[in-house]
């Protein structure tokens, strides 16, 4: 078959796979976005003893391959089937999609926590003190000062992590999930036409490119307070404007 014939015949299946890939990526990013700010704050503020379990978890996730983590949950849960059944959790672990999703949530949460911790630690202490001095309470200071800065600082690294996660989600195909790669392998096993892998690669590249475009727009918005003004370019603006120029040119 010609490369175009194969895509004309199989594009609905490939698109179907893309939806699964996007669903996995979106759901695990969403969960991590909710959990990681709390964990990151804990990493910054809690005593070393209190955060020992958290550090152990992060070290484990960062120190082992994501495929091994997926096998641990997917095949490992089978070992504990009676126990999980007793707890009413078996129906969750029986579904490979859930196993993959849980693995990816655990994985990306660990990374995003560390990224955000760096962001929080990069916030100018003086601005926090200014909030305190005006009588703002802790929640307000976090909401209005700490997190807006922390996310701005962490933004490029967070985007990187989401892209890595999107591509890592291809591992889900190993546990019978028909994401982009899963569908591609299925189509290949029927047609023995290698070009379907090229189409899959193009699809991954397109998703990444669109994501990068959106992410960069958001980044420019987050950085709008350090865009050079037309009215006043002073000496200390020159550093910032080169940063912004670089962002725009990329």
């Amino acid at each position: 078959m010609e490369p175009f014939e194969i895509i004309i015949e199989y594009w609905p299946k490939l698109l179907d796979g893309a939806l699964i890939t996007l669903k996995l990526t979106f759901l695990c990013t969403l969960a991590a976005a909710i959990i990681s700010p709390c964990l990151a704050l804990f990493r910054v503020n809690a005593s070393p003893i209190a955060q020992a379990p958290l550090r152990l978890y992060i070290s484990f996730i960062r120190g082992t391959p994501i495929l091994a983590q997926l096998f641990l949950i997917y095949y490992g849960s089978g070992q504990f089937r009676p126990l999980l059944q007793e707890w009413g959790l078996w129906s969750f672990f029986r579904d490979p999609f859930n196993c993959a999703l849980l693995t990816f949530i655990l994985n990306t949460t660990a990374y995003q926590t560390e990224i955000l911790r760096g962001g929080i630690m990069g916030v100018n202490l003086g601005e926090i003190e200014a909030g305190k001095a005006l009588g703002m309470n802790k929640m307000r200071i976090l909401q209005r000062i700490v997190f807006p800065h922390a996310y701005r600082i962490a933004w490029p690294a967070l985007g990187n992590e989401i892209i890595l996660m999107m591509k890592a989600s291809a591992l889900a195909s190993v546990v019978t999930i028909f994401d982009i790669l899963g569908r591609t392998r299925q189509i290949f096993s029927r047609t023995f036409d290698f070009s379907i892998y090229l189409w899959a690669a193009i699809l991954y590249i397109c998703i990444t490119a669109i994501f990068v475009l959106i992410w960069r727009q958001a980044e420019l918005r987050l950085n709008k307070h350090i865009l050079p003004s037309d009215h006043l370019i002073s000496a200390d603006d020159s550093f910032q404007s080169t940063t912004v120029k670089r962002l725009r040119d990329e």
Partner: protein, 251 residues
């Protein structure tokens, strides 16, 4: 503690960082309309003392009262920490490094605490912020971000931000020390006009002219203690302690 015209009273404040004792029993009261300049060499504890007054540093021991509501501190723990936020909202603070929120425009910096601490409606907060920025001469810079303002302009926004809370007293922590020499004047002018309005101010400064001409009382810190205090006239014309004589001779 219920002298009616005393706004702020600090009693026997001690502060240590680890083994280093920075403040060794400082007592100071600020009466209504008083402008107190705190002078001293670097390391004398003057900034630390100012930061203790609104609990940016928690003193090791002592008592701080704003309008007669005292907070006692023993072993580095305030007895009623819930009072601290209330005290802070009654004391304005202007920092050496301005500490404006860089992700918000000048007017947003001024509105922030009005909305989130005073719970003022947004449109009212905006009106108030506009008039305060006019007051410090920045009506044409309201919608600029701090990175687009000069140091002197940033410090004036910071003063407007402190004024917005209608504080009983304003603390200034070396407000002109981070400024280029040609920008010092515009900030001092604003501070001078605040003094003329009768605001209660405590100013840690190296500006001798301000201490001499604007303040009603000068306090000289030396090695964590108040070495000498009095009106600027008696202090500068007739310095009593050797430490203060040396200090003004250097400048």
């Amino acid at each position: 503690m219920s002298k009616p015209d005393v706004i702020l009273e600090a009693n026997d404040i001690y502060k240590s960082f680890g083994n280093v004792e920075v403040l060794k029993g400082i007592s100071l009261e600020a009466k209504n309309h008083e402008v107190i300049s705190i002078l001293g060499a670097s390391g004398s504890g003057k900034s630390t003392f100012l930061r203790c007054l609104n609990f940016l540093e928690i003193p090791t021991s002592g008592t701080i009262a704003v309008h007669g509501e005292p907070v006692n501190i023993a072993n580095g723990k305030p007895t009623n920490p819930k009072h601290i936020e209330a005290i802070r909202s009654r004391l304005g603070m202007v920092f050496q490094q301005f500490n404006l929120w860089t992700h918000r425009t000048a007017i947003e910096n001024v509105m922030e605490a009005l909305i989130y601490v005073k719970k003022m409606a947004k449109n009212l907060a905006r009106e108030k912020a506009e008039s305060l920025l006019e007051r410090v001469g920045l009506e044409d810079r309201m919608h600029m971000y701090p990175s687009q303002l000069s140091g002197g302009q940033q410090q004036r926004v910071a003063i407007a931000r402190a004024l917005a809370m209608e504080p009983d007293a304003i603390l200034f922590d070396e407000p002109t020390s981070a400024l280029d020499p040609e920008l010092v004047g515009e900030v001092l002018k604003v501070m001078q006009s605040l003094a003329a309005e009768g605001r209660t101010m405590i100013v840690v400064t190296h500006e001798m002219a301000f201490a001499r001409d604007v303040s009603s009382k000068v306090v000289f810190f030396n090695e964590g203690k108040i070495a000498e205090q009095g009106t600027p006239d008696e202090m500068f014309k007739n310095p009593k302690t050797e430490a203060f004589q040396k200090f003004i001779a250097k400048i």
